[in-house]
């Protein structure tokens, strides 16, 4: 039984279908060798003379039998004094563990002279006591394979052999009926051109056993309607096959697509047709406006905007609205929050002055999104950041850096070409931690697992992990040796205490003097000198020689910027997609690995390719998604699609993000004269410039604004909780907002003056403010009743606003 050891928090199960990065090595098996039949065939009889290979046959067999899994000998403590490398990719260690003096009290694991007496044959056949139970019998091919290997000298494989790729057949399984089944075949293709049927040496896993089960021999059986993937693992190769079974709907009418259909809709429809799931209708104009405003700009539409939009007769008003929303600074503000999520902007982890530096970080990204700087350019100026320009002296650098804290000049930081704070965080000081964060932030890849053992779902080995870490060894934060003298003098003038050579953090007490124009000595981000040249592999995509003072981040950036890079663009488009829907095309969105294939592989490819072809234009990406019929579906089920959570047949309601709740409440209660101002003044919005100032506050915490302390997109938590309801009903903040409501005081004043507007107008206004739609007659009647019974109009309306804020419709994006 396969037990996974992912350290990821959640693994919902899909995976990457694109043929893995091994292809980038441009190794081709030019001579198509004949495919060696599978081991169970070859070792069917005792007279097989072929000597099994340790890497190709013995270790995979132990893996398939479960021997090197985490709860058996793959455990870091081993079992019964016998330890194998977890997921079997340390052939030296595994071989040493089996041969030589390594023996338990019960005998030798391998007895050269008397092979059948070897513990590796006696234990799994229960001829000797084995906690792991019976793994195979003495008349099995497994037994014969291992026996033959022991008899032939139990040798390790000659040098390391590299797998080119795995091929899995069929390439798609489409079932009609319950319990229907089919057999998978897996072919391993080695770099030297060898081909072998390795089906009986693979480990198989289903990503959803309510849809398909897979036996250890690779027989897939249908258990329910829907779609999932079955994954095969062999050596460090991973291959997946989609398994689908349509919902049996006799009335199903295929969705028609033609050349006018948007590519997103075409690709989504193709899969819905295959699964026979009818999509929901399109959402209403009011639903669209609220949804798109929140998703694009983190802002609820204002009542006037909604009225205007609803009465606009133009057929293309939705696309006009999308363009309008994308042009608003609020778009840049809201998406800066997301980019701060992806890049890990966290006040607690800054090198110094956490609050100020994280605000600088936010504002630096904001100014770029506001100008729609291409994504790759934005990332390049983070990845290749340095403290100062090559032509600057240390003195000039400190003067410049100090000036960003001078009163009235705070916004100047955003004009810097590069943004060094990404690298100067305390969490980035260890090269391996930096490597993990980098892979997560820009590639959507979780390398962590490979720190201690081969990655269970990806080809990453410990060596890949260590190699990637080596890149970051010379990314330094401190004082360059040449500048130490000047640094010390400057430190002395401002009274900064410095111990050691690497400088000291500037503390909050310096802020006042900085504001007044003082110059402080700042530590800086620079590239140190590599002691000796190193040739390292760049995540299995070719190798790079790192030497001298050359910036090791250059080759990584150049590689990421290649249009063929398998992760850079994909990770971003998938993350953006995931924030418009309740899940990513790959989900979790920050776990691109071949055992987690996308629900819509062509769609992911199309988005990534289109994004690159459009010069990484983020607005292009947003426009494509938001303009699609897929995005504009209603949340109301069509009937048979009520069970569909992953094929985009309807809009699954999502909770408002923390920042939007905060701003939304303010906007709902705000005075009508200042309405536009409240909406547009980014300096007072949690989605805007207050984003980093509010980080970590109570409201942000309970509504799940991410701390950005770990490498996981799951830190932004959009699940409802009891405390959120308690907050909206009874928190002092909500109480204050209602008490100090500008709109309610206007009404109170009008009421006193005997000029209160008609009830219906007020009720409509309340609905438009909170739910961004017109109330229906029932809602109006109920509200009138409440207002009539209230002490005063203003207090009745206060109750009404409170009630609206506490509806599900307010807190959810419908």
């Amino acid at each position: 039984m396969y037990q996974s050891a992912s350290h990821s928090r959640v693994f919902h199960g899909h995976g990457l279908v694109f043929t893995f990065c091994l292809l980038l090595l441009s190794e081709t098996d030019s001579t198509q060798a004949e495919t060696l039949p599978s081991a169970d065939q070859r070792y069917k009889t005792t007279n097989q003379s072929e000597v099994p290979d340790f890497q190709r046959h013995v270790v995979p067999l132990l893996g398939r039998l479960g021997c090197n899994s985490r709860n058996c000998h793959g455990s870091f403590q081993g079992r019964g004094d016998f330890r194998l490398s977890l997921f079997g990719y340390d052939f030296g260690m595994d071989h040493r563990g089996l041969i030589g003096d390594a023996a338990s009290t019960e005998g030798r694991r391998i007895e050269q002279g008397n092979a059948p007496n070897s513990l590796i044959l006696r234990k799994p056949t229960l001829q000797a006591e084995h906690e792991g139970g019976l793994r195979f019998t003495t008349d099995s091919w497994e037994y014969r394979l291992l026996l033959r290997w022991v008899n032939s000298g139990a040798r390790n494989s000659p040098d390391s052999q590299e797998l080119n790729r795995l091929e899995l057949f069929p390439t798609e399984v489409l079932f009609d009926d319950q319990n229907e089944s089919t057999s998978l075949q897996v072919i391993a293709i080695w770099k030297n051109g060898d081909r072998e049927d390795v089906t009986p040496l693979c480990r198989f896993r289903t990503n959803d056993d309510s849809i398909a089960e897979v036996s250890k021999d690779g027989v897939v059986r249908s258990t329910g309607s829907g779609d999932t993937h079955v994954i095969a693992f062999y050596d460090n190769g991973v291959a997946s096959v989609p398994v689908l079974r349509p919902f049996s709907s006799s009335t199903f009418q295929p969705i028609r697509t033609d050349s006018a259909t948007a590519p997103i809709d075409r690709m989504v429809a193709a899969k819905l047709n295959k699964l026979r799931i009818p999509p929901s209708e399109q959402c209403s104009d009011a639903e669209f406006l609220r949804r798109a405003s929140i998703d694009l700009t983190g802002t609820l539409p204002m009542p006037d905007e909604t009225r205007k939009f609803l009465s606009d007769p133009r057929v293309d008003k939705r696309s006009a609205k999308i363009d309008q929303l994308l042009d608003r600074p609020a778009y840049a503000a809201w998406w800066t929050n997301k980019l701060c999520d992806y890049t890990g902007c966290n006040p607690q982890q800054q090198a110094e002055l956490g609050q100020e530096l994280s605000v600088q970080w936010y504002m630096w990204i904001f100014s770029r999104l506001n100008r729609n700087v291409p994504y790759d350019e934005l990332v390049r100026d983070i990845v290749l950041a340095q403290g100062r320009n090559p032509e600057q002296t240390f003195q000039e650098y400190t003067t410049e850096t100090s000036s960003y804290f001078q009163k009235g000049f705070e916004s100047e930081f955003a004009k810097r070409k590069t943004m060094p704070h990404y690298w100067t965080r305390r969490s980035m000081q260890e090269p391996e931690r930096a490597a993990e964060a980098f892979a997560h932030n820009f590639l959507g890849v979780r390398l962590q697992c490979a720190q201690c053992h081969k990655h269970p779902f990806a080809p990453w080995t410990q060596k890949d992990y260590q190699d990637f870490g080596r890149f970051f060894k010379t990314v330094k934060f401190g004082v360059r040796p040449d500048d130490r003298e000047v640094y010390r003098q400057l430190a002395a003038t401002v009274g900064l205490n410095v111990r050691g050579d690497d400088g000291a953090p500037i503390r909050n007490d310096a802020l006042r003097r900085l504001a007044g124009g003082a110059t402080y000595p700042w530590r800086e981000l620079y590239i140190g000198e590599r002691e000796q040249a190193e040739k390292v592999s760049l995540l299995r995509s070719g190798s790079v020689t790192l030497e001298g003072k050359a910036d090791p981040r250059q080759p990584i950036m150049a590689w990421m910027n290649q249009p063929t890079n398998p992760w850079f663009a994909r990770a971003f488009v998938n993350r953006v997609w995931a924030s418009y829907f309740h899940q990513g095309i790959v989900d979790p969105p920050d776990d691109l690995n071949p055992a987690n294939p996308p629900s819509h592989p062509q769609l992911l490819d199309w988005l990534a390719t289109g994004f690159v072809q459009n010069d990484y234009d983020m607005k292009w990406l947003h426009r494509e998604i938001v303009s699609s019929k897929t995005y504009q579906r209603s949340s109301e089920p069509s009937g048979p699609n009520r069970f569909d959570q992953k094929n985009l047949s309807r809009a699954v309601p999502r909770r408002l993000p923390a920042e939007v709740v905060y701003d939304g409440v303010k906007q709902v209660v705000g005075s009508s004269q200042q309405a536009e101002h409240v909406r547009e003044d980014l300096t007072r919005r949690a989605t805007g410039h207050l984003s980093m100032r509010l980080a970590g506050t109570y409201a942000m915490q309970i509504f799940g604004k991410p701390e950005r302390a770990v490498n996981c997109d799951c830190e932004r938590n959009n699940h409802p909780t009891l405390l959120q309801s308690v907050f909206l009903q009874n928190d002092p903040i909500i109480e204050q907002r209602l008490e100090n409501s500008g709109w309610l005081s206007e009404i109170a004043a009008a009421e006193t003056a005997g000029e209160a507007p008609p009830l219906q107008d007020l009720i409509e206004e309340a609905w438009l403010r909170a739910l961004c739609r017109m109330p229906n007659q029932k809602e109006i009647d109920r509200s009138v009743t409440h207002l009539d019974e209230s002490e005063s109009l203003a207090s009745g309306l206060e109750d009404l606003l409170w009630a609206l804020l506490n509806t599900k419709e307010f807190l959810l994006i419908k």
Binding site: I211, E636, Q729, K808
Partner: protein, 422 residues
């Protein structure tokens, strides 16, 4: 006709419009609550050294046995650490399980394993004990059924966000007022007006009424909103969290320290009717200076506060209805390291159980001479969890229709440890 919970769950699964909120209201109205069940999980986060607490090896070589001496307990032949004198005299009020063994010597994974009783896997997110209890035994609607003191230790997993705990956000501190923000009505808002507001919400919140049961976010939001209302409008919740209502001698009995105050709050919450309390007592990850940390602070504080909790539950006659589990996520290395510390060790650990139907005053299981691993096959976290569920009154083989689309057995691999109940 009384509404059976299981029937409701089935109905819910096929998409009836009956919400959990509706169910709770019906269930409460019909007196379906089984008020005789509650449970406490004391989580010793970081992994306490088993050999320096309940599984001492005085005869092991000095680099293994450490610096502490064993003392006798009220159970003949059983000895525990000298820094646990109060618990020693109460050894007949709990059972100790030694030789629990697993292989996840990592805080995250180990915690997940111990808190769910299922080996962590990336494909299924298993629920924490408290979430299962709050699903199985709805509490009075005006109290949270599941409270986590300070923060949650593992979540509701496949049961869904509606079974997540209410976290207090902080720990109670001696001499400082403790309140969970927003859970009680303040001066200006009258109960009557609050009720009218709520009625208004119920009448206008119909946007999802046709398909409320389909999505986790809608369903759980509805449940939480109803429950928040009940909690805020009732004096019960206010009193349950109000430690200032405790007599000074109780405060002193539990101790002024963080452990004491946290367990005092735990006790109070259970007495008020909260079903499940998770209390996180941290500091046990003693890679360095193990003996000073344990001997000077951790053990004396645990000794005092845990004894006080057992005593008070005993005095109130609540021990029989309150299942208690005290555990960390793993044990610590047999050999003391160069920093006078002990590192992570999952092959052996001890846990303590009390209350409910546990046959107390016994020590079950055994480890080898160096406390490195169990003698014989030992117990697994799955067994421990199955035992805890059994003691709470939940069949560990209960199946749930999880959000993964197939029935999942609550505790797949473990079974209750028979000696605990015999």
């Amino acid at each position: 006709m009384p509404v059976s919970r299981r029937r409701f769950l089935k109905v819910g699964a096929i998409g009836s419009s009956l919400t959990l909120g509706d169910y709770l209201r019906i269930a409460n109205a019909e007196g379906q609550l089984d008020n005789d069940r509650s449970a406490v999980l004391v989580f010793l986060g970081g992994g306490p050294a088993h050999q320096d607490t309940f599984d001492m090896k005085p005869n092991a070589p000095s680099e293994y046995r450490g610096q502490f001496e064993p003392i006798r307990t009220s159970v003949p032949g059983v000895e525990i650490c000298e820094h646990l004198p109060k618990l020693a005299t109460r050894a007949n009020q709990y059972a100790v399980i030694r030789g629990i063994s697993h292989s996840l010597a990592d805080h995250g994974l180990g915690t997940r394993y111990l808190m769910t009783g299922n080996l962590p896997t990336p494909v299924v997110d298993y629920p924490m004990f408290g979430s299962v209890v709050s699903k199985e035994f709805p509490t009075a609607a005006d109290l949270p059924s599941f409270v986590s003191i300070e923060r949650p230790v593992e979540g509701p997993g496949y049961l869904g966000a509606e079974y997540a705990p209410l976290s207090t956000g902080e720990k109670p501190r001696f001499g400082q007022p403790f309140r969970v923000r927003g859970i009680t009505l303040d001066g200006t808002m009258t109960l009557d007006r609050y009720r009218r507001r709520r009625q208004l919400v119920d009448d206008i919140d119909k946007a999802f009424s046709q398909y409320e049961s389909m999505d986790d976010s809608v369903r759980s939001l509805d449940k939480f909103s109803q429950q928040a209302y009940q909690i805020i409008s009732s004096p019960k919740a206010r009193s349950a969290f109000d430690l200032s209502l405790e007599a000074d001698r109780e405060v002193e009995r539990f101790g002024r320290h963080e452990f004491g105050q946290s367990l005092l709050l735990t006790t109070r919450l259970i007495e008020s009717g909260v079903r499940f309390v998770t209390v996180l007592l941290e500091g046990w990850d003693t890679h360095q200076d193990n003996f000073n940390q344990l001997g000077r602070q951790l053990l004396p504080n645990l000794d005092q506060s845990l004894s006080a909790m057992l005593d008070r539950f005993g005095e109130q006659g609540r021990l029989d209805s309150t299942a208690i589990l005290v555990t960390g996520e793993f044990g610590r290395t047999p050999k003391v390291n160069n920093n006078a510390g002990r590192d992570h060790w999952a092959r052996a650990m001890s846990s303590l159980m009390a209350g409910g139907k546990i046959r107390t005053g016994q020590y079950i299981g055994e480890t080898d001479a160096k406390a490195a691993g169990p003698v014989g096959s030992g117990f697994t976290p799955d067994d421990l969890a199955a035992s805890f569920f059994q003691n709470i009154g939940i069949d560990p083989k209960t199946e749930y229709n999880a959000n993964v689309g197939r029935p999942i057995t609550l505790i797949r691999d473990g079974s209750p440890i028979p000696e605990l109940f015999s």
